[in-house]
């Protein structure tokens, strides 16, 4: 049985633990440095300076969030197991699901703070370089947050039963598959239409692409930098549906992680 109060207590402790992690500071400082470097890139680029700064900074935001989600996310559960702090914690009247959810929300708190700091840096850079900072950029940041929310859930799922190295590899694998699955399906259908592959092979390839597209979370949906940078309007309720889509995947991943974790023995 899940206790909201205990989830909040574990989440707060996880947040407190994460913000004292040196890896986190390294990633945050490196990200801020890279964000400022985007000004230089904008100057060097043959493209519009404002566009380069915006797209580079959004990519940096997404990538640094990915690093935090994967490395801090995986180490959070593994550290509890390796340092045996999990023994005392799980002997308290809390369910394993409460533990997983608390860890998840704690790390999401860290991700939220990270994105907030970067957003402030991002807007400062845009103001400093007169690169037309618009509020619509917040839509892109909002979706980066949901994308990372899915990645953190994947990282927690893998770290509930695997080693840290394998968990990191699996998580990155799902991340890239999730970003490329839409493209893969489009490519397969394009090649079919062009008649380059036909018959049984064509059907098999399409089915494989459809399965990959259906199973892996479509993380490409959360990259809308092209829309906001060029001022193109998003489809109606895009943000709402993307949020619900993320919540669906997160619920499944955390459900499996809790179920697996509750079967696990702690020596």
């Amino acid at each position: 049985m899940l206790s909201l109060k205990n989830i909040a207590i574990i989440a707060w402790n996880t947040f407190r633990e994460s913000v004292r992690d040196k890896i986190l500071y390294n990633i945050v400082f490196l990200t801020i440095a890279l964000a400022f470097f985007s000004i230089v890139l904008g100057e060097w680029s043959v493209f519009d300076r404002a566009h380069v700064i915006k797209s580079t900074t959004l990519s940096i935001m997404s990538l640094s969030g990915l690093l935090i989600s994967v490395f801090v996310g995986i180490s959070l559960v593994q550290k509890e197991i390796q340092r045996k702090t999990v023994l005392t914690l799980l002997s308290k009247p809390i369910s394993r699901g409460t533990f997983i959810l608390g860890k998840y929300l704690g790390l999401m708190g860290v991700v939220a703070v990270h994105l907030s700091i970067l957003s402030a840096v991002y807007y400062s850079i845009l103001f400093l370089t007169h690169s037309s900072p618009t509020l619509s950029l917040l839509q892109a940041i909002y979706l980066v947050f949901w994308e990372l929310a899915i990645v953190v859930a994947i990282a927690l799922l893998f770290s509930s039963f695997s080693t840290p190295v394998l968990s990191a590899l699996f998580t990155l694998g799902v991340y890239f598959a999730g970003h490329l699955s839409g493209q893969l399906l489009e490519q397969v259908r394009f090649v079919q239409r062009m008649g380059e592959i036909t018959g049984g092979m064509s059907t098999l390839l399409e089915k494989a692409a459809v399965v990959i597209h259906a199973v892996f979370p479509g993380l490409y949906r959360y990259n809308i930098s092209a829309y906001v940078i060029h001022g193109v309007a998003l489809p109606d309720n895009y943000l709402l549906w993307s949020s619900l889509y993320a919540i669906g995947y997160i619920s499944v991943f955390l459900g499996i992680a809790s179920w697996w974790f509750s079967r696990r023995d702690f020596l």
């Binding site: 340092r83 045996k84 023994l87 005392t88 002997s91 009247p93």
Partner: protein, 303 residues
């Protein structure tokens, strides 16, 4: 309070998942309000049993119940306090912060939480300045006391301690012993494992001895040591010849002092003395210590 019936647990280790039985059908029962010692050599299955009792490990077969409830259920752990062997905690917190964290997890808040932390610290003799220092600066003894304090924060009905005295200096051991006795006087049932058999002998009401995954002895310390072979030292009024005496009666080297190896040989020797009008000047029995019994059981299991 604790019921264990035919409990088995096998670990699977290595690439080929070799099976290593840790518990081979153990059964024991701990009544409410008792201090119960659980002793055995390293790798005998003590920590495995304790982790099954605290819900950290699942059993392969058998029944385990704490106050009639399965240990895997979070509600069961509301009445349970547990301190693992060599407790590890979040070392970025101070001792007091850690206790506050665990206290809130067991449902304490505000003034009640602070009062309970103070009570727990006093009980384990840890209400000192160092409690507000970061845990990474703590010695093993300090860590053990904090571990014990967190286990009693909820005022549990059952306290399970895995090697609570290991690595402590004599003062630390005395403090932990006193804490166990004082909690027991307040009605807490205590189930603990220990290597320090002198401590077990001094505070346990009952003891279970586990060797190679099986309970080999169970009872009060007296029952266990009595059930092991007891020797009788007899001093006779006259000198005797060893070859005339019943079986299992041996000389100590003195012609009037004899050792009967068991109760049967003692009875036979006394009958012999009676029938030959030999007076008995002194007779005492020497009971083996818990350590000697355990050593014999380990040797038996190894053979």
């Amino acid at each position: 309070m604790i019921q264990i019936e035919n409990l088995t647990k096998t670990y699977r280790t290595g690439f080929f998942m070799h099976q290593k039985p840790a518990l081979k059908g153990i059964s024991l029962s701990v009544p409410r309000g008792m201090i119960y010692g659980f002793i055995g050599p390293n790798g005998a299955g003590k920590s495995t049993t304790i982790k099954i009792l605290t819900g950290l490990l699942g059993a392969d077969s058998g029944k385990v119940a704490i106050a009639g409830m399965p240990p895997k259920r979070p509600q069961t752990r509301k009445i349970l306090g547990y301190c693992p062997e060599q407790p590890y905690f979040y070392d970025y917190l101070s001792g007091r912060e850690l206790l506050s964290f665990y206290g809130r997890l067991v449902g304490l808040e505000g003034a009640t939480l602070n009062a309970r932390i103070q009570w727990a610290l006093q009980t384990v003799h840890a209400d000192k300045d160092w409690i507000d220092r970061r845990l990474r600066t703590y010695s093993k003894g300090m860590m053990q006391r904090v571990g014990l304090a967190q286990s009693i924060l909820s005022k549990p009905e059952l306290l399970i301690l895995d090697e609570p005295m290991s690595g402590l200096d004599p003062m630390g051991r005395r403090d932990v012993r006193e804490a166990i006795l004082s909690l027991n006087q307040e009605g807490v049932t205590i189930f603990y494992s220990s290597h320090l058999l002198s401590d077990v002998e001094s505070i346990s009401e009952r003891v279970a001895m586990i060797v190679d995954g099986k309970i080999v002895r169970e009872g009060t310390v007296e029952e266990i040591t009595e059930s092991a072979s007891t020797e009788y030292h007899v001093r006779t009024g006259q000198t005797l010849l060893e070859q005339d005496l019943p079986q299992n009666v041996v000389s100590t080297g003195h012609p009037q002092e004899w050792v009967c190896k068991d109760a049967t040989s003692k009875d036979a020797f006394l009958s012999y003395c009676l029938s030959h009008n030999i007076s008995i000047e002194k007779m005492e029995n020497s009971r083996p210590s818990l350590e000697e019994v355990l050593t014999k059981e380990i040797a038996r299991a190894e053979s």
